[in-house]
Symmetry: C2
Subunit: 149 residues, 2 copies
Amino acid sequence: MRMTAFEDVSLRALMLLCANDTGFPLATRTIADGIGTPYNHVSKAVLKLRELGFVEATRGRAGGVQVSEAGRRASVGDVLRALDTREDLADCETPNGDCPLRHQCTLRGALRRAREAFYQALDSVTVSSLPHEGQMGPVLVQIGVRPPA
Amino acid sequence: MRMTAFEDVSLRALMLLCANDTGFPLATRTIADGIGTPYNHVSKAVLKLRELGFVEATRGRAGGVQVSEAGRRASVGDVLRALDTREDLADCETPNGDCPLRHQCTLRGALRRAREAFYQALDSVTVSSLPHEGQMGPVLVQIGVRPPA
């Protein structure tokens, strides 16, 4: 059981945006540097976060990405639920052929209920509560968002 | 959030072995046909299930794999917990570099608690209770484990 790389990058990008207390939007490149992830991956994650309303983007020279009000209030459970569009946790149906056991399989239902328990456990944790100042401060300085102390 | 392919194959192999009511062990090739998964993947899963004590293997011409007493009693939660050896659900540390946010990151702890909630939701479901006769009967006939009706 694990998060997908896309979920992982999206959550970390949102964490960084929540920690950005400068009032200015961040360039996608800056977010990528901040979370140590290739630009292309971060760019796709930001696009999806914007589509879901968790971040807002502004154009132009001083443009970039900022967390939205909804993003600031969102729980980790909210974000992961919104990102997860797969019906099944298991590979019941794949391009290479479907699992012969899939009909009336009670595993699918059990896994869906367990996934909901996973999300519920994360419903009380907002993304904006995740970043510690001690953890984010040095990162924000390093990527040039905050001046060195 | 999803199961790994290895967890998926292991669970389905164990389901099939639980449904095998012939009293005879199954060849790995037969299990692979039964769950529609390449032999190599099933072979690795069976090896791991054996290591964990969920299945037993016998050698020789009539040899093969059977579910053990522990495997018959095991819950889906037991099996997934045993298969999951990763400390983190997220890619906090990767061969390409560690996440700059990983120190004191509260996301890791929140995800670990949520993973435990996921497993707990599957602790009441035994693997041997998963296969329906209506689902498994035709598969067992198709792979030659049971004679056609």
